[in-house]
Assembly symmetry: D2
Homo-oligomer: 80 residues x 4
């Protein structure tokens, strides 16, 4: 009877993000997930990988067992 | 730094719902709110009023400090 | 990196509750779970069973991947 | 009818922590708050202050409108 939800404190893209606008991206994930909105958060390509940038989540959508995450990339972390 | 969220276990419409389709409605509320999805839930017009029906939330959208709730009314509670 | 949490809208005891005081009980469950506090909620012995009473959760404790739920049984649902 | 909860992604002590054991501290806060458990998290003395260390939350307790947070300080951030 319970509803499982996952709290997340960073965005892990796994390279599945879609560019919506210049620095706005959208990502879809399995399950219902909560990311703090409007707060700077680390972005990584893989869970244990390097930080690739900083973003703020602008929108979360839950339906059909999936979460849509729209985020604004505010800075890129270059590793050169 | 924290993000306030409100857990809700029933839908209180305050008469602000919009009909999207036959038995599908959408409601917008201030703040970020969690309603269990895909679970039968009471619908009321006012917080302390009578139950007006039963619904299942199909979609939640969080953005700009507001929550959009799309629900399917599965039964109406007639009080005659 | 995410933390799974389960939202619950009723208490399912599976007969594992321990009586702490007269009408105060404590139940331990696997995983991290959220129950609304200080709100009347249905109590059932099994997920799909009959309602056995009404309770209010007074305390939640999360540690070591488990949730402790202390609740006050406010009414018993007799089925005679 | 909703229950407000605050998601937190860092520990802000405001100097109100109590030492329980060597590197174990306990903090009490107003309201019901969620901190990810068993995950390294920044500790700050004030919301906009410098990071003072890293900790992992070991236990959360919710009751009477308050949250008890027990955390293990895993590293101290010296600013010399």
């Amino acid at each position: 009877m319970g509803m499982p939800v996952e709290f997340n404190t960073m965005i892990v893209t796994k390279g599945k993000e879609e560019r919506i606008e210049e620095n706005i991206f959208r990502l879809e994930k399995e399950g219902y997930r909560i990311y703090p909105l409007d707060i700077p958060m680390d972005v990584r390509k893989t869970k244990f990988g390097e930080k690739s940038g900083t973003a703020e989540v602008q929108k979360l959508e839950w339906s059909n067992g999936r979460t849509g995450i729209t985020y604004k990339l505010t800075s890129l972390h270059s590793t050169n």
